[in-house]
């Protein structure tokens, strides 16, 4: 939906229907749309989690060091 929306075509939906009901597809679609929009917005605000991985409340400067400037899933080493 985000990277290549043209690929989400009728054939794609036919395949989705083999695994999900139409109601579930709508639920997934609005969830993805909502996250697609908001994560881009949040990303522009440059904020980080309030808590460290071990549950400590940390300042934003420390959180940035802990989590790094790049989303974990986008780091090349995270790719399997």
């Amino acid at each position: 939906m985000s990277i290549n929306p043209d690929a989400v075509d009728a054939a794609f939906f036919d395949e989705l229907r083999k695994h999900y009901s139409e109601d579930e597809i709508v639920e997934l679609g609005v969830f993805i749309g909502f996250n697609l929009g908001y994560h881009t917005f949040f990303g522009s605000l440059n904020f980080y989690p309030m808590f460290s991985p071990d549950g400590r409340l940390v300042r934003q400067s420390e959180s940035e060091k802990l989590y790094g400037p790049t989303p974990t899933s986008l780091k090349p080493e995270a790719a399997v």
């Binding site: 939906m1 985000s2 929306p5 989400v8 075509d9 009728a10 939906f13 139409e22 109601d23 597809i25 709508v26 639920e27 679609g29 609005v30 993805i32 749309g33 909502f34 996250n35 697609l36 929009g37 908001y38 881009t40 917005f41 990303g43 522009s44 605000l45 440059n46």
Partner: protein, 186 residues
């Protein structure tokens, strides 16, 4: 034909959802097609539709500017459904198709008369999904010269939410409504 069939209007029994659908129809955005599709996820349809309407028609940012931004985003998303809908409230406030097109395609042109605040809001929407890396500290510092932090959050949330829903509707292959403007996809 949409890839997910909308529910028949009479199948929607929730009075809160019915009221929100009527509110959308009165505003003109959305008509009842979008709500009848998301009504398939009934627990989410009410908060989603309420947020869509609230972020568009309420708040402390000029509704006419938000309407231009909404259409700019829908054109960018290649979403013919939302790009074709028009806010009756914005129209009643004096927003014309000519002004919408100027806001979408020529807001940087000083001859078009957009204020600096309006230009920064339109750049904000343009860049959010065109090149979000440009929305850096320098950009926000400049935004703050023209908009309060509350208004920037209102604009950002509006842009994010509407763009997300437009991309979702685009994926469903929802066509423009029968009564549509002479819509041009950016």
């Amino acid at each position: 034909m949409t890839r997910i069939a909308p529910l028949p209007r009479q199948a929607i029994a929730d009075p809160e959802l019915q009221a929100l659908i009527a509110e959308g129809e009165a505003l003109g955005v959305p008509d009842d097609l979008f709500p009848r599709i998301i009504a398939r996820a009934p627990d989410q349809a009410v908060p989603l539709l309420r947020a869509l309407l609230m972020s568009h028609a309420q708040g402390n940012v000029d509704h006419k500017l938000k309407e231009i931004i909404r259409i700019l985003l829908a054109r960018f998303a290649n979403d013919r459904y939302f790009a074709s809908l028009r806010s009756t409230k914005a129209r009643d406030m004096g927003l014309t198709e000519k002004r919408i097109d100027e806001g979408c395609f020529a807001y940087e042109d000083d001859n078009k008369g957009f204020s600096e605040a309006e230009k920064w809001a339109l750049r904000y929407a343009d860049l959010m999904f065109l090149d979000a890396k440009q929305l850096d500290k320098t950009f926000y510092d400049e935004m703050k010269k023209h908009w309060s932090e509350a208004q920037i959050m209102e604009l950002g949330a509006f842009v994010a939410f509407h763009y997300g829903m437009q991309m979702f509707i685009r994926s469903l292959g929802v066509a423009a409504p029968a009564v549509a403007t002479n819509e041009v996809i950016k």
